[in-house]
Amino acid sequence: MKLWFTAALIALTGAVRAEVLLSADEIEQTLSFGPWSPSFHSDPSNRVSNNARAIALGEALFNDPVLSSDGAFSCASCHDPEQAFTTPEARALGRVLLDRNTPSLRNLAGLRWYGWGGKSDNLWAASLHPIIEEQEMAHSPESLKTAISESAYIDDFEAIFGVIQNQDPELVLVNTAKALSAYLETLVADRTQFDDFRDALERRDFPAAAYYPEAAQRGLQLFLGRGNCVFCHNGPRFSNNEFHDAGVPYFLNETEVDEGRFGGLNFLLSSPYTLDGDWNDDPDKHGAWAVRNVRRSHADFGTFRTPSLRGVAETAPYMHDGSLRDLNGVIRHYSKINTDRLHTDGEAILLQLNLSEQEIADLVAFLMTLSKASY
């Protein structure tokens, strides 16, 4: 049933006629994208989660080159807070040109998997790996312990975690990552025009909902319907946080491939820093079920984690390799997707949509409303 609601605000403001175009079923689906912002839950695997002093230390460390072995760059060099915690380059530039696009760092609290390939099942592990990755910060646990000991942050570190000289270098590494994680879990994307629309629909306040642009509403209808975007981009974060083949080539060059989830799982299952490991501060190990029970499949090869669409207009370029410059390009990619590139034994979800120019514009209009910038 179409509601085709004509807003009463016309008489009040003399504005152009505005309507809620969504059917009752589409409204019900739209409500599932909220409410936003999500309520905060401390991370039981991190004993300094939601600790104000740890959050402040994590923020300071995030922005300081002390976390790179030669002081060359900080986390913020690639995850720029002024650029939605990413940078506009297609692929991240660490000590070398890395294989993947830098993901934004907002809305990370409480996810099941982290990173394009999901090689971490918790936020402190995801914060830890870049510190010791040779192509990124390139610290060893020993050099990190020395750097923290000699830094301006030693008093805060010891106030939170105890005397550093009594700590094994690996413990210093984990504690540093947990302070970073305490900070990162506070980063949440702002409410948007879409959230106002969604909340108005929940209140059955259709005059307020009708302020949402019709082009964005038509784009939302495509997102929910023929576009099948909602299969993977669902829930308040617009991500199911699982792994899919989006038809983007995963060849790095003539001889190398990005293994995606396949490589991520290999890494994860040999890591000591999972929720099933000894560094988890939660004696009940909530959340460890995922790493214990996750299935491995040949079809994982070249699949990548569904990115959140919150704030998506601020995080160009797109896809795991940053190969698509703007949202228009992303929609055109899916519209004319080359299904020959998809796994023959993988999931059968994507097909050519053959969208019209109007439909492409509508989908982009909808995606733009998921960012604060669209206000």
Binding site: E28, Q29, S32, V230, F231, C232, N234, G235, N240, N241, E242, F243, W289, A290, N293, V294, R295, A299, G346, E347, A348, I349
Partner: protein, 125 residues
């Protein structure tokens, strides 16, 4: 009279053990014991649990659970954990449906030494 009493006790025991709550699962095996699937709510892309009750007067052995999306040609990304509760009842944890749409929940039960396949259709919005 004694025989009647024995039959009554068996019937009572079976009825007590078999919790006929929820959706009855289908099987193509003729005269297969009834199996019921009970689930409160299925959150999208989050773990959930189900209860499976097998109404069999004979011995129930192991049970295996899985789920697929027939139209999408994929299953779940996690292996669910099955715990026997006794009396033909099983609790299944760590189920996760990561997409909306039509899922087929599949149960394979060893009944009296034979594997019997059951399924139920579940539409997730």
């Amino acid at each position: 009279m004694i025989r009647s009493a024995v039959w009554f006790m068996i019937w009572s025991s079976t009825a007590f053990a078999c919790d006929e709550i929820g959706q009855r699962m289908t099987s193509e095996v003729q005269n297969a014991p009834e199996v019921y699937l009970s689930v409160d709510e299925i959150p999208l892309a989050e773990p959930f649990s189900v209860l499976v009750s097998i109404c069999s007067e004979t011995t129930v052995g192991q049970m295996r659970v899985d789920a697929i999306m027939p139209a999408h040609r994929h299953g779940m990304n996690y292996t669910p954990k099955v715990s026997a509760l006794g009396g033909g009842a099983f609790r299944v944890d760590d189920m996760l449906f990561h997409m909306p749409g039509l899922w087929e929940l599949q149960v394979d039960v060893d009944i009296n030494g034979q594997s019997v396949f059951y399924s139920s259709k579940i539409t997730l919005k």
